[in-house]
Symmetry: C2
Subunit: 396 residues, 2 copies
Amino acid sequence: MRRMTARPANTHQAHLLRLLRDGGRSSRAELGERIQLSRSKLAVEIDRLLETGLVATDGFAASRGGRRSHSVRLAPGLRFLGVDIGATSIDVAVTNGELEVLGHLNDSTDVKDGPVAVFEQVLAMAEKLKESGLAEGFDGVGIGVPGPVRFPEGVPVAPPIMPGWDGFPVREALSQEFGCSVMVDNDVNLMGLGEQHAGVARSVADFLCVKIGTGIGCGIIVGGQVYRGVTGCAGDIGHIQVDPQGRLCACGNRGCLEAHFSGAALARDAEEAAHSGRSAHLAVRLEASGRLTSADLAAAAAAGDPVALDMARTGGERVGQVIAGLVSFFNPGMVVIGGGVTGLGHTLLASVRSQVYRRSLPLATGNLPIVLGELGGMAGVIGATRLISDHLFSPA
Amino acid sequence: MRRMTARPANTHQAHLLRLLRDGGRSSRAELGERIQLSRSKLAVEIDRLLETGLVATDGFAASRGGRRSHSVRLAPGLRFLGVDIGATSIDVAVTNGELEVLGHLNDSTDVKDGPVAVFEQVLAMAEKLKESGLAEGFDGVGIGVPGPVRFPEGVPVAPPIMPGWDGFPVREALSQEFGCSVMVDNDVNLMGLGEQHAGVARSVADFLCVKIGTGIGCGIIVGGQVYRGVTGCAGDIGHIQVDPQGRLCACGNRGCLEAHFSGAALARDAEEAAHSGRSAHLAVRLEASGRLTSADLAAAAAAGDPVALDMARTGGERVGQVIAGLVSFFNPGMVVIGGGVTGLGHTLLASVRSQVYRRSLPLATGNLPIVLGELGGMAGVIGATRLISDHLFSPA
């Protein structure tokens, strides 16, 4: 199949493409019920989309003796690539037009190596997916990076944990490499989009997605769209103060959330508990692997280690305190928690919930679900393909 | 003039009415530049609006020998009523269609007396404005109340400082009394709308408006519209925790912002400083009036009383700490501070700014103005007329 060169010519065509992406194969009658168009105008727009090759008639219906097919679907050869760059790992996935994951690769990396090295790795992973026969090429690529992005240009801006990336023209450089449209966003926004597209927030228009990994960030979805703020850095909640007398943070302030509860802070706390002999369980793990991560802490907590459980609980209270403030401020329809630290699971969730339900206005918490994400490590790549398909399925 | 009975028939007419509201008298050519319509379709829509009586030809142009006028304006007889109910006072203002204030009344009240007593007072004030010849009647009424509102129905929901108002059908009851459309919202949202319409936030689409009066609340404007949250209580920031070991709050939690800095908290602190002899200045004021308010504190601070200045400064740091978190989260284009406590002026502002600029991401604070509102006590009533005119200038 030739790669996607056409874009929808108007908002009706864009709407039709999104309906087919989200609902799959549909009859003309079904589409007609969901779009404000007369039957004849709908037929015109669908015919135009068929001409562009973005949409195909359903093979089955077309074979019934030459009668005009009443069902259409997105072109079966459409391929989107989703890339989720984390501080220490890369996820790459290829999807069809309906954003169903056809293949997925995960590799460890160090984002500190800078964009050139990291993108060499991304390109090699994308090549491997092509070689496996899942795609001949890509119609669009979405990319998430673990730091703030100037969204219209797709350029990281002073990302704290990404030295060497400041101002690097990610979108432009990768558009040339891939030969197709590329969109770049913050990894947390893409996690939010992913959970909305195919995860726990499917029917929710206004929600918060808190990602607790090496650092902490928050995706904000308003009216079904990512809210990015005026300079694209909305959701930077890692340095909200949880205790004026708290720990010194890497940012130079005292008592930031990230200094008390994040993948990095938990790893440090766990190693300290192992060294000091407070937790025999963690000491054994430290001896075995030489270092501890939040995954070790989660395993220790799951095994009933009281020190690990206490760390999960008190950490959850800190996050809960911040989320309580955000719930009071934003009055969301759902709070989704994702990222590596969610290995702490229900101990963490219980602590967060108790803080939010205790501290926020009853009117705000009455019907508020506070839940773990459903998609785990796939949320980011699915969100990335959602981002690029939203872009391509808009009038040019 | 007969009262407004027509509503715009389509989005083009609605857009034209808003352009005339916000820009005043305009030529057809000027309107044509600002709206996506062919010249002939524009003429049709304007003629229809002229027929409804919502729009009038400009008197001057019409007198030039019968040639068809090229200028139009909103009907000069349009009258909106804006009502801003506070915990202890009521503001009522009448405006023309362009939301220019023609007359304004202020009266003290006690919102705890309940809706029946308060609305008797509001109706008497509106009557007085009519008797002064400013209006024969009203085409629409906007009302702000100091508590959460279920917006579509215009009904207060469990408002903490408004006993007796829970579930009272404000919108319905006053529509009957006034015989016209009524819209009800939280007072802080209306302050935000007012500052956006005619105040300091005129050109800003995404901003926060923090009102520090008896309590503390925050209006959130996203894309030029009030963001209300899923149950209408977004912006309830008074109970965000500023210190886990802080003061006991009326809500039962510890260290809420409102327990440390609000009109009520400041009045209590000022009286304590007067009683304990720490501030001679405040003691003199207390003796003179029997009680102290945040206005006394502002006067003492303005006169250089060190105790009052210190209270303004430390209080400002508490508010600044919360605003810093909101700036990190929401990345707004501006922060507007309003309400009674703004009498503390630049001492307060300096404290807030130092916290925000120190604690939030540079990308978020780089071009962020943190300013006092421009409209003072008029922001709420102007916002109320903006609210009802937005409603009436929408397709029915």
